[in-house]
């Protein structure tokens, strides 16, 4: 009887569904701290995100290892338009390169994080995955790349698209769902709004990826343990600037105008009735909505028929306060006041976007807008063919329409104060541009109540962990 050949085959690294299989073990000892024996398959298994560290360790030991895991490609991008970066953008990308092309960059919204990412792409000719939190942002990055790299093999993953291209823009949701499949195909991963990465569901995008190069972008980095967790997944915090530090250079200064509208008599009556229904239930049930606990109890009780009626009343009141006809009248007036300028209208939800779109016959932009139409809409807006765009507030994470000089926020609430400020920053700085942001709220409603509880500005904090960056003794790869 002949047995299986016992001749020792060459140590090989393979990628398997978000992990690496190492078999047989290479020479040296450096690999061992990254690997774990997996009895289920009789092989050593390595977390995919340790790919670079593992290969560096093997190289340090001078050992042989055949790399069958790597499936990412060379991707040389040639930008068709060149935007001169601001100094902070150049500094950010230099710091990132010095840290071995891994790490987090913290810049305020409107400071041009997209351009930082493009600089990283230009400097790192490897297939690249860009992960973004919303479908709106996905389409926006797509449109940006399309304009900058017209010949690039560019695709989308999410919102019904399932492309398979060396330059891919994906939502966190879709990238997480497909993490096992994507893991070894991209050499560079850019995490936009990287604070979304830390959650249980999303973190696999980083964990199951072998990408040796990683860039995380955010305006609002987490603190403490959660920041350290992100650094483990993406790399050290390499650069940070606060809005104050950039004020007057890159960020637009804008005038803010608050307009309070009154409900019509009929709306007022409906609103009062709805609030009365809700409050009667809250009183009977001893619920105080002033705190989070009370709100949770309310949601839990809304399973009962009575609670359900109260919750529906609450929603009706809320929608009256948010979508009131009075606000639409103000919108009409504001549009008339700015007959020449490019105007962005933001609303609280998609239903209101479509209501405004239908009533005013204005083009709307939401995550449901087909890709081609989105690109065409933004293009027409830039050219001035469309002067007004209506969009939902989810666009707050960095919409890129520098031509807009007027923003009208319908139904902004105090709780999302920060968001309103972020919307303001969308009005980018341009020569001789006087931007204005209108916040249109209804008077004497719950909304007004929350508007009083505005949050204070976060204090500027120093950059921690910067001193933790130590240059790697072994060059990963000479790019």
């Amino acid at each position: 009887m002949t047995r299986v050949s016992s001749a020792r085959s060459q140590p090989t690294l393979r990628y398997e569904r978000g992990t690496l299989l190492l078999h047989p073990a290479p020479a040296g000892q450096g690999w061992a701290e990254h690997a774990q024996w997996d009895d289920r398959v009789g092989r050593f298994r390595v977390p995919a995100h340790r790919y670079r560290a593992l290969l560096e360790a093997v190289r340090r030991d001078g050992a042989e290892l055949r790399d069958e895991a790597r499936d990412f490609q060379e991707l040389k991008l040639s930008p068709s338009r060149f935007v001169t970066p601001y100094p902070h953008q150049t500094e950010a990308i230099d710091a990132w390169k010095r840290a071995g092309r891994r790490g987090l960059v913290v810049l305020p919204t409107g400071a041009g994080k997209t351009l930082v990412a493009q600089l990283a792409l230009d400097a790192t000719p490897r297939s690249c995955l860009v992960v973004v939190p919303t479908l709106d942002l996905m389409h926006q990055w797509y449109a940006g790349f399309l304009a900058t790299y017209p010949d690039a093999p560019l695709g989308l993953l999410g919102g019904g698209s399932k492309d398979d291209t060396p330059l891919l823009v994906a939502t966190y949701d879709s990238a997480a769902i497909h993490a096992e499949r994507l893991g070894n195909r991209y050499g560079l991963v850019v995490f936009d709004e990287v604070h979304h990465l830390g959650g249980d569901f999303n973190r696999v995008i980083a964990e199951y990826s072998i990408a040796p190069y990683r860039l995380g972008l955010t305006a609002t980095p987490p603190q403490g343990a959660r920041l350290r967790d992100l650094q483990g997944l993406v790399g050290p915090l390499v650069y940070r600037r606060t809005p104050e530090e950039l004020a007057g250079t890159a960020l637009a200064s804008y005038r803010e105008v608050r307009i309070t509208v009154q409900l019509s008599a009929a709306e007022r009556a409906r609103y009062d009735a709805a609030i009365a229904t809700r409050n009667a239930f809250l009183r009977r049930s001893g619920i105080n909505l002033g705190n989070l606990e009370g709100w949770r109890t309310f949601v839990m009780r809304s399973g009962t028929p009575e609670g359900r009626a109260a919750m529906l009343a609450h929603r009706e009141a809320r929608s009256l306060a948010f979508g009131t006809e009075g606000k639409l009248r103000v919108l009409e007036e504001l549009l008339a006041q700015h007959p020449e300028e490019r105007v962005l209208v933001f609303t609280d939800d998609n239903a209101t976007v479509y209501r405004v779109s239908r009533e005013f016959l204005l083009p709307a932009l939401t995550h449901q807008t087909p890709v081609k139409e989105r690109v065409a809409l933004l293009d027409a807006f830039r050219k001035g063919d469309y002067r007004v765009l209506v969009t939902s507030r989810v666009l707050n994470e960095g919409v890129d329409v520098p031509e807009a000089s007027v923003a009208i926020v319908l139904s902004g609430t105090g709780v999302e104060r920060e968001h309103t400020q972020r919307l303001g920053r969308i009005l980018r700085r341009a020569e001789g541009k006087q931007a204005v942001l209108y916040e249109v709220v209804a008077e004497d409603t719950t909304e007004e109540g929350v508007a009083r509880r505005r949050r204070g500005q976060e204090p500027a904090s120093p950059v921690p962990y910067l001193d933790e960056i130590t240059p790697d003794p072994i060059d990963w790869e000479d790019l």
Binding site: M1, E16, R17, Q36, R45, R358, F360, L361, P370
Partner: protein, 416 residues
């Protein structure tokens, strides 16, 4: 299956108890009403259908039950499609383009009328209000229910009950299945589904005491992960086809829910009364095996043919032999009948036998199989593994001869 917000369960200490709807008069009635909403709703927009469903939300069962049932009707029994005489994108370009050149909301009616007139000239008769109503026909909520295959009310309730239990498993990071005295065909089907859903399995135990199958995924090695919970949920309906089993899941409850413990468990067994909608796979019909067992029963021998077999762990999987032959004196041997299979299957089977380390195995191989073409050699098998080649059907005598040590003679006898 259902989205998380439509799941209904509570915690009893650290155990999850999913809600179960009894198939009583009230629930069957509610299910029937909702099925009728859908049956009568063919041709309606999704939003209109949702409104009709919402009218039933006051039901005593609670709105979440109503929405869950409606969700299953929409996802598993319905087809929705976009319907518009003009592609909505094109319609919007016309309407917004024209509107941008006219001032204000006042010109609204004029814009709609002019676009309707334009379309009319191009041979598409649309009223101005139809121009408006089709403006966003491509939004999900405006899709039209084009087809509905109604389940029975009982089927729908079974589907809901199953979906609630599947939903519990979304948060599972480890699943242990104990199985005892089952037909090998059921084990085979189970392993096929594990593979299909990307689950990895470790098998412990033996035929006499039953087996423990521990299920998780590749990355579970480094950190318990709920990543494979969805696969476990999809796997559950396949498990329901197995005759005798129990399962135990380790769960990590959502942290944002009030009253949820740090960790929780969920248990279920073959008496749970849940009904699977997966088909029993014909590939695993055990007609050949049953016929052999019937022939064996007529044989006068002390060797007893058992359907309860050892699951043989091999690298990266499990082999499920067809039979176990047990002698009163304590000897036992596994029997695997290799019938008509693809070359790749044969190669894998032989590789599996080689790596299993098991030698108490008899392989019965049909002489119709072209082993050479498949690239496998009988001589590659580990020492101790015995082979019976057979022509036509496998005769129990040939196997018995091998068992009693008349190896060469038996193979010849079978061949002649």
């Amino acid at each position: 299956m259902l989205p998380t917000e439509l799941l209904m369960y509570r915690y009893r200490a650290e155990t999850v108890v999913p809600k179960r709807l009894a198939l009583n008069f009230a629930h069957v009635g509610l299910a029937r009403e909702l099925i009728e909403v859908f049956s009568g709703g063919v041709g309606l927009r999704r939003a209109e259908l949702d409104e009709r469903v919402a009218a039933h939300e006051g039901s005593a069962a609670g709105y979440r039950v109503v929405r869950g049932l409606a969700h299953l009707l929409a996802s598993d029994f319905s087809t929705f499609e976009m319907r518009s005489p003009v592609p909505p994108t094109e319609l919007r370009a016309r309407v917004f383009g024209l509107a941008s050149r006219l001032a204000g909301r006042a010109s609204r009616a004029a814009v709609l009328t002019r676009v309707a007139a334009q379309l009319g000239e191009e041979g598409l008769a649309l009223r101005p209000e139809e121009v408006e109503s089709n403006l966003y026909a491509d939004l999900q909520e405006n899709f039209v229910l084009s087809e509905f295959t109604p389940p029975t009310p009982e089927e729908l309730l079974h589907r809901w009950n199953l979906a609630q239990v599947q939903g519990v498993l979304y948060r599972a990071y480890a699943l242990r299945v104990h199985a005892h005295r089952n037909d090998p065909a059921r084990y085979k089907q189970l392993l096929k589904y594990m593979k299909l859903f990307g689950l990895m399995v470790v098998v412990d135990g033996d035929a006499d005491h039953g087996f423990t199958l521990t299920l998780d995924g590749p990355a579970s090695l480094f950190r318990p992960s709920t990543r494979y919970g969805l696969a476990m949920a999809k796997f559950l309906p396949a498990l329901l086809h197995v005759t005798k089993w129990s399962l135990e899941a380790e769960l990590r409850p959502r942290r944002d829910l009030e009253g949820a413990p740090e960790s929780a468990t969920f248990t279920l067994d073959s008496d749970c009364g849940l009904v699977s909608h997966y088909k029993v796979d014909a590939e695993f019909d055990s007609i050949v095996e049953e016929a052999f067992a019937a022939r064996w029963a007529k044989l006068r021998t002390d060797w007893k043919l058992e359907r309860e077999v050892d699951l043989v762990p091999v690298t990266g999987g499990v082999i499920v032999p067809d039979f176990r032959l047990v002698h009163p004196d304590g000897r036992s041997t596994l029997l695997e009948i290799v019938g008509y299979w693809r070359p790749e299957y044969l190669r894998k089977k032989f590789r599996g036998v080689r790596t299993s380390g098991r030698t108490d195995l008899i392989l019965a191989v049909s002489d119709r199989l072209n082993l050479d073409a498949a690239g496998v050699k009988l001589t590659d098998l580990p020492e101790g593994v015995r082979v019976v080649t057979y022509k036509g059907r496998l005769e129990p005598r040939a196997v018995l001869a091998v068992l009693e040590g008349e190896e060469g003679g038996a193979a010849e006898a079978a061949a002649s």
